[in-house]
């Protein structure tokens, strides 16, 4: 848990505060994204938690791993920082040290022994889906995305209960950013850290945050709420503007494919004969059907006209399906994928490639209408 109480920061030589009377609480195990226009004091807020910047006024508490709520202003800043994970946009890996030494920075400061550091580093690389050989490489031998993963691994090295992330994916290209975000969300399911996540990108804030704190200029908190609440019920005009005119569409970010898909889809088995398949298609009044094998793995689809007057197994007439959607995908990404491949219905698969359902643009539209209805109520 991170708790801010009436925190104010006025930089010396200025009169207007950079952060003004900020109070909010991040519950344990949740990600709180801080978002706002540039100069709104979001980074200042974050840096006050590990006292890289000293607050002018107010109190900040952090729940330590012994379950005690500690006032950070009463702690030794050096020890405090060793117990808070810290990730910055430019990563800041030490170029003269190997990946192992980089990941081992905080454990070394905490005087762990070398074998312990090594096994922890290996464990972290496993979490990040990176091979152990990386441990003996140097940062310049890694790609940008890999370095960012190491940056996150380094912050988690000593298993701190609290992490601060300052635009951690900001310097990564959009494709890799999306990948890293998804990976990190998956990781967070396991590690359940309390995270303060600074970003300037409202989409990222919605995607990553369990809670979002939106700041306006001079560090005033405009709204602190869950993403769904912020999208459906913006507190004021500033939030409305900041979230953007497409906030309805953005709600799609919050709904997963799993929640709206047709869970009992109509499927053809590859072991069926053409006659049989044709009969089933007629029953459902369809022009085509998806075909799966005995493990429910997607094989492709068949068209009615390809089967007409044919005999034998249907797998001879299967056309490979161009794409399928992972079950954890959000509706916004799913919709854009569907528009791209121009399919009206698409298969949803789990992480072992088994078909779990199908989804159509009509279902997405229905889901959106429903969430809008909820908003009106």
């Amino acid at each position: 848990m991170i708790k801010l109480e009436h925190v104010t920061k006025i930089y010396p030589g200025t009169t207007s505060p950079a952060v003004d009377d900020l109070s909010f609480t991040v519950p344990s195990g949740e990600i709180c994204t801080i978002v706002g226009p540039s100069g709104c004091g979001k980074t200042t807020t974050m840096k006050m938690v590990n006292r890289l910047i000293e607050p002018t006024d107010g109190e900040i508490y952090v729940l330590n791993d012994r379950g005690e709520l500690q006032n950070v202003l009463e702690m030794d800043p050096i020890m405090l920082r060793r117990n808070i994970g810290y990730v910055i946009q430019q990563i800041g890996l030490f170029p003269h040290r190997t990946i192992l030494q980089n990941i081992g920075t905080v454990p070394k400061l905490l005087e762990w022994d070398n074998t312990q550091i090594r096994s922890r580093a290996e464990e972290l690389l496993d979490m990040m889906n990176m091979p152990h050989e990386f441990l003996d490489r140097y940062p310049h031998e890694l790609s940008g995305g890999q370095r960012q993963r190491i940056g996150v691994a380094r912050a988690m090295a000593a298993d701190p209960p609290v992490m601060l992330m300052d635009e951690p994916f900001g310097a990564i290209d959009p494709i890799n950013r999306n990948l890293l975000q998804n990976e990190f969300l998956r990781l967070q399911q396991e590690i359940k850290k309390t995270i303060l996540f600074v970003t300037h990108d409202i989409d990222e804030a919605i995607k990553m945050g369990d809670k979002i704190a939106i700041l306006s200029g001079h560090g005033t908190l405009e709204q602190y709420d869950s993403p769904a609440k912020i999208l459906s019920d913006p507190a004021n005009e500033f939030i409305e503007d900041f979230v953007g005119a497409d906030r309805t569409l953005k709600q799609l970010n919050l709904i997963r494919v799993e929640e709206v898909m047709d869970k009992k889809p109509f499927l053809l088995q590859s072991t069926q004969s053409a006659d049989e398949a044709l009969k089933i298609l007629d029953e459902h009044n369809r022009d085509y059907g998806y075909v799966v094998d005995s493990d429910k793995r997607l094989q492709g689809y068949v068209n009615r006209r390809d089967l007409k007057g044919k005999s034998g197994w249907i797998d001879e007439y299967v056309t490979k399906a161009a794409t399928s959607l992972p079950i954890t995908m959000n509706l916004r990404d799913a919709l854009s994928e569907m528009l791209m491949v121009d399919y009206s219905t698409i298969c949803v698969v789990d992480n072992r490639d088994r078909v779990r359902g199908t989804i159509s643009t009509a279902m997405i539209q229905e889901a959106l209408t429903e969430s809008l209805k909820k908003e009106e109520v």
């Binding site: 117990n83 910055i88 800041g92 170029p95 003269h96």
Partner: protein, 519 residues
């Protein structure tokens, strides 16, 4: 139609093409031209190119110096003989260059290689022959032409430019013929010229020639045999090494201090009173300011140490021990310097970064003081001798180190420092584990500059009575013995180059593995 073109290339076309090739090498002497001409290379054209040169050389030598070149009754036979010699010389040289180039990774064939070389050699050779012919006809000697102070000495400049032009053409020709990198071409030509030089020097000694090179090496050998050269070398080496070692400590400390944020004085800073007190005692007591009671024991310790050090000052470490003895016998001077340094370091600790500009400015100014003047200034407080020299050399040496330490640390990317600080490193850990290791290559570059500079300045320290290689230079000038001052100059230069090379290796060793091959 096809037969006509065929005929044209075999007869008129051949000469026209040859002329074209000549014109393009002379009018657009660049790599592309040679690469293009490489396609048109044939052995016949090469032979004709060099044959033309041989013909002109033949006419020239037969006209200018008939007695030594006319050997038969027939002019044609003599001409033919000279043409043959020219061809033979060219192909032998070309072959040597070809072999070396191939060994160094050249890929061209010998025909292309020779043809491109002939396109450099023949036109330039013709110009040279024409030039020599003209001077001969005008009755000028080579000495008169080359004397840069003479009335026609301006030609020297043209000749130098011409030689450089020829060298450039040669580079292009080899680069084009073998598709090499420029540095490989330089190595090729360097290897050939270098081995020629070595052979020439070897021949000099084998034949017992009496010239400046053999005389100088005889002089050096004699000095070595008497042991005086080694002594001067060791004196020089220790003088430089000792001063640089002190300078590294002072330079790095000051360089680091002026990158730190300013500090408020704290109670713990009272620690500085300890060195300050000790140094002040060393300074004041021998002067008798505190009464003879304290002065005597200090001087006694100083004397005993001095005697021990002087007695054991033999062998390889001899000059170092003499330096140390020169230092221990001046406790007051050491104390004074100690007091000044302690005050400066404390002041910089408090001022931190705000003093960086001033510090670097002062450091820059000190560097502009001529070394001989600085030695002179220090005669006042420290009189002459090793102590004076060490102080002056240390002062010079720490400037590049200080500057490079400052820039090296300032250049560490701020996000690296922020990451370190954010993970809970103390300022000292940040400095020791992050900033200094990353700045090491830059700091070492400063040390390298310092050492090379000191090797030169230490020679001048001989002026205030110190045994270094400078002795050869000063004594040589006083006694008008060129061999002696050449010896000084050569050894100092070689010493400086050697130190630079060795420190380059050290720099590479000290550079953290992860910083090599970055970017």
């Amino acid at each position: 139609m096809p037969t006509e073109t065929q005929e044209k290339t075999t007869f008129v076309g051949f000469w026209q093409e040859l002329l074209d090739d000549w014109m393009s090498t002379l009018t657009s002497p660049d790599l592309e031209t040679y690469v293009r001409l490489k396609e048109k290379a044939t052995s016949l054209k090469t032979v004709i190119n060099i044959g033309l040169l041989g013909l002109v050389i033949g006419f020239f030598v037969l006209t200018v110096q008939p007695p030594s070149f006319v050997q038969t009754e027939s002019l044609f036979l003599d001409l033919g003989r000279l043409i043959f010699y020219t061809e033979a010389d060219f192909f032998i040289l070309s072959l040597i260059l070809f072999v070396v180039a191939t060994l160094l990774g050249g890929t061209g064939g010998f025909i292309e290689h020779s043809y491109l070389l002939s396109l450099v050699t023949a036109p330039l050779g013709l110009v040279i022959v024409a030039f020599l012919f003209l001077t001969h006809k005008l009755g000028l000697t080579l000495a008169a032409i080359l004397n840069p102070l003479g009335s026609i000495g301006i030609t020297t400049i043209f000749i130098v430019l011409f030689v450089l032009y020829g060298f450039l053409l040669l580079l292009f020709a080899i680069e084009a013929a073998h598709e090499m990198e420029s540095h490989q071409v330089i190595y090729t030509i360097g290897a050939v010229l270098g081995s020629w030089g070595l052979l020439r020097v070897f021949a000099m000694f084998a034949a017992g020639e009496d010239n400046i090179i053999t005389q100088e090496s005889a002089f050096l050998a004699e000095e070595w045999a008497r042991g005086t050269l080694q002594q001067a070398l060791l004196g020089h080496l220790w003088m430089v090494a000792f001063s640089v070692l002190i300078a590294v400590v002072i330079g790095v400390v000051i360089g680091v201090l002026i990158t730190m944020p300013p500090k408020r004085p704290q109670v713990s800073h009272l620690f500085f009173l300890i060195p300050l007190g000790v140094f002040f005692l060393m300074w004041a007591a021998p002067k008798g300011w505190l009464g003879m009671g304290i002065a005597d024991p200090i001087m006694e310790v100083s004397n005993t140490l001095k005697i021990i050090l002087t007695r054991s000052a033999k062998g390889v470490f001899g000059p170092l021990l003499s330096l140390l003895s020169a230092i221990v016998r001046k406790p007051a001077a050491v104390g004074m310097i100690g007091v000044i340094l302690t005050v400066i370091i404390y002041a910089l600790l408090i001022a931190g970064e705000s003093a960086s500009e001033l510090t670097l400015y002062i450091a820059g100014i000190i560097l502009t003081i001529p070394s001989i003047a600085l030695f002179g200034v220090f005669i006042g407080p420290f009189s002459i001798g090793a102590f004076n020299a060490v102080v002056a050399l240390t002062l010079y040496a720490q400037l590049p180190i200080l500057r490079n330490t400052y820039t090296g640390i300032k250049e560490v990317e701020p996000e690296i420092v922020e990451a370190g600080r954010g993970m809970g490193m103390t300022e000292f850990q940040l400095l020791r584990d992050v900033k200094i290791p990353i700045a090491t290559p830059v700091i070492m570059a400063g040390v390298r500059v310092s050492v090379v500079m000191l090797v030169g300045i230490a020679a001048i320290a001989s002026y205030i009575g110190n045994d270094t290689l400078g002795d050869y230079i000063f004594h040589g000038i006083q006694r008008v013995q060129p061999l002696r001052y050449y010896a000084g100059a050569i050894t100092v230069a070689v010493f400086a180059l050697l130190m630079d090379y060795l420190l380059g290796l050290l720099q590479n060793r000290l550079t953290p593995e992860g910083l090599k091959g970055r970017r």
